[in-house]
Symmetry: C2
Subunit: 331 residues, 2 copies
C-alpha cells in the first residue's frame, strides 16, 4: 500500500452519558474509568494504525468496555426485573451500509461480536433473544452463563430500584430524568475512520436497571443508536433510548450532514442540544466524518468519552461537561 | 368545530409488495383481496370523516387486514421455523413523534392495538416477546392462542419452505428475490391525515415464513418500517425488511422531504426506485404529507394498496404495477 494514499484515521468512544458529577465519583473509581477509556481508545486506535478496518477498531474498543465491570455493557451490565441480564448491541459499516444487531442476548460474552457476526454471516440485520444467542454460538463466539455478567455494584443498584418500585406506575419513575445515571445509563459505543476512509459505528448496552416487559432501547436499532454511511458520518448514541428511537437520532444527524450540508458538529448540536433537549430527551452522541475530527455532543451533565487522532500522541479522555449552557435541567 | 377550519383528510393503506402477478391470483382470491382492501380503506376513512384522529384511522384500517386471513399480519400470519407465529407492529403519531411498537408477540389478537397501547401507556417505545404480550394483556387487549393465527394457506407455504430448506445455508435462499411473494411479503400498513392536519403511520406483519433465530424485520422499527412527523410526512413500508432497516427508509424519505424540500413523490421515488433498487432491496411504501395526496411507490411487481381522499366517493384499489421501468428484475 502507498503510504501517501492513507487517509487520516481517528477513533472516538463513549462509556455513557448522564448525571455524571465529579463529587459522585471516588478518586479510585474515576482513575479506573479514565484508565479503561484510555485502554479502549488505544485498542481501537491500534487497529487503525496497523491499517485495520474501522469496524474492527470499533469492536476492539467496545470489547474492552464490555469486558470491564465499570460500564453497563457486557460484564457489569445492569439487572433486569427478573435479576438476569439482557444485552443489546449493533454495528454498521459505512462503505456498504451493512449492519448487524442483537437484542436481549443472555449468553454471548461480547454482544458487539455477535452484532458483527450478524453483519457478516446472517442474511438478517436484527436478531433477538434465544435465537440471537443460538446464532452467536453457531458462529463459535465465546459463551458464558448469564451470571457471568453479575457485579455487586449493579446488583445493589437493582435492589435499590426494586425497593423504590412500590407501585405499578413506578416504572415511569425509573425513566424520569434525575434517576438517570443510576438506572439507565452507561451504554458504550465507538466510531472510527480507517486509512481507507471507511467509517463505522457500534454500540453495546445492558439496558435499563430493573427493565421488564422485554423493553428494547435504541442501542440495537440501526438509525436510532447507531448509524454509519461513508457519504455522511458515523454515530453512536447513549442516553434515554426512547427519545433516540422516536427522533431517529443517529440517522437524523447523518441526514442533516448529508442533505443540509451542515458541518457535523452543527448537525449533532442541532439534534442533541435543540431537538432532543426541547423534547426532554437526555443523552449524547459521538461522531466522525471524513474530516476525522472527533465530535462529542451531550445535553447531560457528563459523558464518559475518549478519542484519538493521528495528531494525538496518546488518547484524550473526558468525563464531565465542558460548560455548555444547555446541560440537562430535568424538565 | 368550525367546518371551514377542517383540513383535507386522506388515508392510504397497503397489504404488502412483492411478485404480485395477475396470473398467480385466482379471480375469487383477487376479488376477496380487493374487497378487503376496500373495507380496510373505508374503515380508516370513516374514522377521519367523523373527525377522528389519524392514529385511530390507521388502527381501524390495519385491524381489518389483521383480522383477514388474506394478509401476512394477525390471522393469516406466516409460520416461523418452529411452526408458530411471531407478529410485529408499530405506530407513530406525527404531532408529537410519540411511537409504540411490539416485536415477536404471540398472543395479542391485534398487534397494532398493542403497539398503540405501548405508545399511550408505556414509558417505552419497543417491547418484545413475552413481555410485550404480557403488557398487552395487562392493558386488557384481546388475547388468543397462538394457533388462532393459523391458516391452511400459510401452513402449506411453511411446509414448502421447510422442504426446500435442505442445507444450512438455504435460509439465504429464502431471502433472495424471486421467492419473495411466497416467503416474506404481505405486511400491511396505513398512513392517514386527519381534519386537524395530524399525520400518523402504522405497520403490522407476521414476518418471514420459516424465520428463525429471532429475526426482527423493519415493521416494528421506528425509522425503518414506520415514521410520522407533522413537519414532513407519514410512511409505512413493506418489502425486504433488512434493506429498509439499513437504509432507514421511512425516516430517510421524511428527511429528504424536510431537508431537501423534495416533493413527497420525488423523495419516495429517490429512496425506493434509486437507492433501494440499486442496492437490491425490493419493496415499497405508502406516504402522505400535508397535501393529503396519496403517494404509493414500489419497485416490486406489485403492491396491494387502497386509498381514499375527500375527492373520492369510494376507495380506490390497486394490486399490480402501473408500468414503472424500474420494477424488480432480481439482481
Amino acid at each position: 500500500m502507498n503510504a501517501t494514499a492513507k487517509k487520516p484515521i481517528a477513533i472516538v468512544i463513549h462509556g455513557g452519558a448522564g448525571t455524571i458529577l465529579k463529587e459522585n465519583l471516588t478518586p479510585a473509581k474515576e482513575k479506573a474509568i479514565r484508565a479503561t477509556l484510555a485502554k479502549a481508545t488505544n485498542a481501537g486506535y491500534a487497529v487503525l494504525q496497523r491499517g485495520g478496518a474501522a469496524t474492527d477498531a470499533v469492536i476492539a474498543a467496545i470489547e474492552v468496555m464490555e469486558d470491564s465491570p465499570l460500564f453497563n455493557a457486557g460484564q457489569g451490565a445492569v439487572f433486569t426485573a427478573e435479576g438476569t441480564h439482557e444485552l443489546d448491541a449493533s454495528i454498521m459499516r459505512g462503505s456498504d451500509l451493512q449492519a448487524g444487531a442483537v437484542a436481549a442476548v443472555k449468553h454471548v460474552k461480547n454482544p458487539i461480536r455477535a452484532a458483527m457476526a450478524v453483519l457478516e454471516k446472517s442474511p438478517h440485520v436484527l436478531l433477538a433473544g434465544d435465537g440471537a444467542d443460538q446464532f452467536a454460538k453457531e458462529q463459535g463466539l465465546p459463551w458464558v452463563e448469564n451470571s457471568w455478567f453479575d457485579t455487586d455494584y449493579r446488583r445493589q443498584q437493582w435492589q435499590k430500584a426494586r425497593a423504590e418500585k412500590t407501585t405499578a406506575l413506578s416504572e415511569d419513575e425509573l425513566t424520569k430524568p434525575g434517576s438517570a445515571d443510576d438506572f439507565k445509563f452507561g451504554t458504550v459505543g465507538a466510531v472510527a475512520i480507517d486509512i481507507h476512509g471507511n467509517l463505522a459505528a457500534g454500540t453495546s448496552t445492558g439496558g435499563m436497571t430493573n427493565k421488564s416487559h422485554g423493553r428494547i432501547g435504541d442501542s440495537p436499532i440501526i438509525g436510532a443508536g447507531t448509524y454509519a454511511d461513508n457519504r455522511s458520518c458515523a454515530i453512536s448514541a447513549t442516553g434515554h433510548g426512547e427519545y433516540f428511537i422516536r427522533y431517529a437520532v443517529a440517522h437524523d444527524i447523518c441526514a442533516r450532514s448529508r442533505y443540509l450540508k451542515q458541518p457535523l458538529q452543527q448537525a449533532a448540536e442541532s439534534v442533541i442540544m435543540d431537538v432532543l433537549f426541547s423534547a426532554g430527551g437526555e443523552g449524547g452522541i459521538i461522531a466522525l466524518d471524513h474530516n476525522a475530527q472527533p465530535v462529542m455532543v451531550f445535553n447531560s451533565k457528563g459523558m464518559y468519552r475518549g478519542w484519538r487522532t493521528a495528531k494525538d500522541a496518546a488518547p484524550l479522555i473526558g468525563l464531565y461537561d465542558k460548560g455548555s449552557e444547555k446541560t440537562w435541567k430535568g424538565h
